[in-house]
């Protein structure tokens, strides 16, 4: 365990940024957002960023491959390039957990997605234990410990001090590079802080959301539940929840004709969109009810079925804050029988 004065944080960023690009949450007009570290940029104290950290590994738009067409000939140009090393500072426990969920899709389920893998391998994640959880936070429901996230390095901000703990080789390296700023310390204050954070988390309003009933029920029983009809009607079919969600990973593959050739790229897509499953051969989910159901069924039922019971939700609360009509996974889960034990 290492320690540094919070006042020196800027020096720490500068030191890290000397070797690789550093991203950190910064306050802006849309709340906190991850930005590249440059002189003068200061760390946001917000509970979390408005957008999730998934962009770092799964950007909204990513070029897949280029083509050149000349008469009957086609040339395939593999546009993949080695990503440069980068550091993300200030990732919260929930977002870190979301990386694990994305890993399950893009790395652990074959075939490996080389675009994702490329970015993942070059990213160093410095997590930051939560200090001020919000009413919309419910990571505890998914067994996530906001007080002690993993990642390559874990940080705690305690008053004027920041504590660092390297968890991986990558993390060790990074800490070593900034060694002159850090001093070795005892873990005790951090342990106390963790206890305090956990106590705080225990007081959050949605902490007791129980998903057992949903898990115990047969997939089709959940699917055919009458609650969907009652809930979906207010949904306007936008993609806000999916785009702010750290675990949503659906994408569309599209082409763009440039003046030179054709770029094939993928971009985020949302299962809430009416054209999500619209293809030449037909459409699987024709109504908003079906699409609305798909999103929540996927997160709460389908994904766990394929992933050892792990839900595709980390309780970050972003969708609770962003949904234009305040419909969200908590309301859905409660309606499906996930009532908190009072």
């Amino acid at each position: 365990m290492k320690k540094m004065q919070a006042a020196n944080l800027n020096d720490f960023f500068r030191a890290a940024a000397a070797a690789e690009t550093v991203y950190l949450p910064v306050d802006s007009a849309d709340g906190a957002r991850f930005m590249k570290y440059e002189d003068g940029v200061t760390l946001s104290m917000a509970c979390n960023t408005t957008r999730s950290a998934k962009d770092f590994f799964f950007p909204q738009v990513e070029n897949l491959v280029d083509f050149k067409v000349d008469g009957k000939k086609i040339e395939v140009i593999d546009g993949r390039e080695e990503v440069e090393d980068f550091v993300i500072f200030g990732v919260r426990a929930c977002d870190l957990a979301s990386f694990e969920i994305l890993d399950r899709v893009y790395l652990n389920t074959p075939p490996v997605d080389s675009y994702y893998k490329n970015r993942r391998e070059h990213g160093t994640v410095i997590t930051l234990a939560c200090g001020r959880p919000q009413e919309t936070c419910f990571c505890k429901v998914f067994g996530i410990d906001a007080a002690d996230p993993a990642g390559d390095v874990t940080c705690w901000m305690l008053g004027d001090d920041i504590y660092f703990r390297a968890n991986t080789e990558k993390g060790e390296k990074l800490i070593a590079a900034c060694g002159s700023l850090l001093t070795d310390v005892d873990e005790a204050p951090v342990e106390n802080a963790k206890t305090a954070i956990r106590a705080m988390v225990d007081k959050l309003p949605i902490k007791d959301l129980k998903l057992d009933k949903i898990s115990e029920r047969h997939l089709l029983e959940n699917f055919n539940s009458s609650v969907w009809k009652d809930l979906y009607e207010s949904c306007i079919g936008c993609g806000t929840c999916t785009f702010v969600c750290p675990t949503c990973q659906c994408f569309d593959v599209r082409e763009f004709k440039t003046n030179e050739g054709v770029k094939r790229f993928r971009c985020w897509d949302s299962c809430m969109y009416s054209d999500f499953t619209k293809m030449a051969a037909g459409n699987n989910r024709l109504s908003q009810l079906e699409r609305f159901r798909q999103r929540f069924m996927h997160k709460l039922v389908y994904f766990p079925a394929n992933n050892d019971g792990v839900y595709s939700c980390v309780g970050c609360g972003r969708c609770l804050k962003s949904c234009p009509i305040s419909m969200n996974i908590v309301k859905v889960a409660k309606a499906l029988g996930g009532e908190a034990n009072e």
């Binding site: 067409v69 003046n259 459409n283 024709l286 908003q288 009810l289």
Partner: protein, 662 residues
Amino acid sequence: MQRIGVFVCWCGSNIAATVDVNAVTETLAKEPGVVYATNYQYMCSESGQNLIKDAIRDQKLTGVVICSCSPRMHEATFRKAAASAGLNPYLVEIANIREQCSWIHKNKEEATEKAIILGRTAIAKVQLNAPLIAGESPVVKRALVIGGGIAGIQTALDIAEAGFEVDIVEKKPTVGGKMTQIDKTFPTLDCSACILTPKMVEVAQNDNIKIYSYSEVEAVKGFVGNFTVSIRKKARYVKEDICTGCGLCTEKCPQKNVPNEFNLGLDTRRAIYIPFAQAVPKVATIDPNYCTKLNTGKCGVCEKICTAGAIDYTQKDEIVEQQYGAIVVATGYNPIKLDNFEEYAYSQSPDVVTSLEFERLMNAAGPTGGVLLRPSDKTHPHTIVFVQCVGSRDVSGCGKPYCSKICCMYTAKHAMLCREKYPDTEVYVFYIDVRTPGKNFDEFYRRAVEEYNVHYIKGMVGKVAPSGGKLKVQASDLLNNEQLHIDADMVVLAAAIEPDKSARPLATMLTASMDTNDFFTEAHPKLRPVESPTAGIYLSGCCQGPKDIPETVSQASACAAKVIGLLAKDKLTCNPCVAHSDELMCNGCSSCANVCPYGAITYVEKEFRQPDRTMLVRRVASVNPAVCQGCGACTVACPSGAMDLFGFSNKQIMAEVDAICK
């Protein structure tokens, strides 16, 4: 896969001197989809055209691009050539490398490069061209003329003369219109009735003409060549086919105090009446507002005395539905109401009259039997003041902003006639400008001033105050810069004229556009002055703008010529480059219909299968290709992109943009 042929024309040296046609041909040959490219001295020549035709056949071309002169020059030529070789003519695109390239650039390299880009643009467009087939619609060989004034009469006669059936719908009991009320006509001073009534008779007797008098247009459906019109024949309580027009009933009717509209209320008529002696049809009409029998059930005098048995108190309005190929609007004009002009005391003194009332007072068949008498005391007026531009050229909002055009001339006529008949009268005319553009018009006006000593005063009348049997007229003489006070016996106001009130609802029915003054808009102010922008709707007379009689008659004949031109066709070939709506995308919001100048867009309620498998009735736009002229205004008004234009589709234009910017 597209098989496009590119044909580069040298146009002798017109193109070849500044554009390297070989380089253009070679470069364009490599464009995607191009399977054949060649160049030739004169593509438009017969051998050039044959080159194209042969290539279409031999190479099985699916699209043709011709790099040549402006499409305005030879597009039709090349389309025809393609069609004769079996290729849809709308699969031909022209790259304009003469007027817009070789002729404006001197540098050969630059011009060649531009020609290549223009060629590439045309190729990009032709890739997306769809074969278009010009639609055809049948033409019903009958015309409808709405309004039976001189404009309508002349149009109807001319059309009937050409051998087509014409129906006239006239809302009054008789045809003839305003001209029947006029005494003499300028500048010849011949008798209005003498020249009009023979035409009215002619209309009545022409086998091709059917008159719906005392009738109004109720509804119009359909489009050019095929309108369906509902005509309401108002109940006149007299059987039109039985009434002989003897007029006995109009003398015996006990209800005597009905204001006579023919004489503008200057005298009275009976409840059953024939508007005037030469009315066509000469049939009596019962005025339901005044008839005692109809209102109280008592009386029945006319029925008793009618030997023909023509009276029928139970008659009801009747709706007749009829098909027409063309519709002529000849709804005419009215003098404006003078309520807004208190300064002229029109409503205070009966001796302040409008010019049209003055016509009646001068007319031998009028209320005074042609003797000019003051309405108030039936005495002979000695001093008469004419005020011009009452409500015309008035931007204050009280009147009309436009010039009513006829007032200068009829005022000169009135003044002249007064002086001629009653040389002892003093006649003053107050004018802003005297406008006399017309054959013999200025001479006429000068005669009024010079021979008849009418006092023309440039200036405005400020006030007319009735006082002890006189009308005190306060006016300014602008030329002499003095205030004038005239004690007049009569004041005659040249009231502005405005389109008949029935025109506005009619325009809505016809989807014909109007200007802010409710005059019908012509399709083109210079080149298509007698057609409405809505195909199949024609404009005759004052409904399009103020006109005098000769002008009205010439427009009426011009209009007839246009109608005859339409009716002579068995089928109409439509321009296939028209708008079309994708019903699945359409929201039914009406934005497109709101900008369509032709009323080509209608809405239908249609049942659609929704994405969620349910059926839903939605309102969607539907374009009538026979009416649409292909301007494309709707395509931009449409937010959902449901509207697109054949021949100039969104994708085609974007492909052109892409090719140019490449």
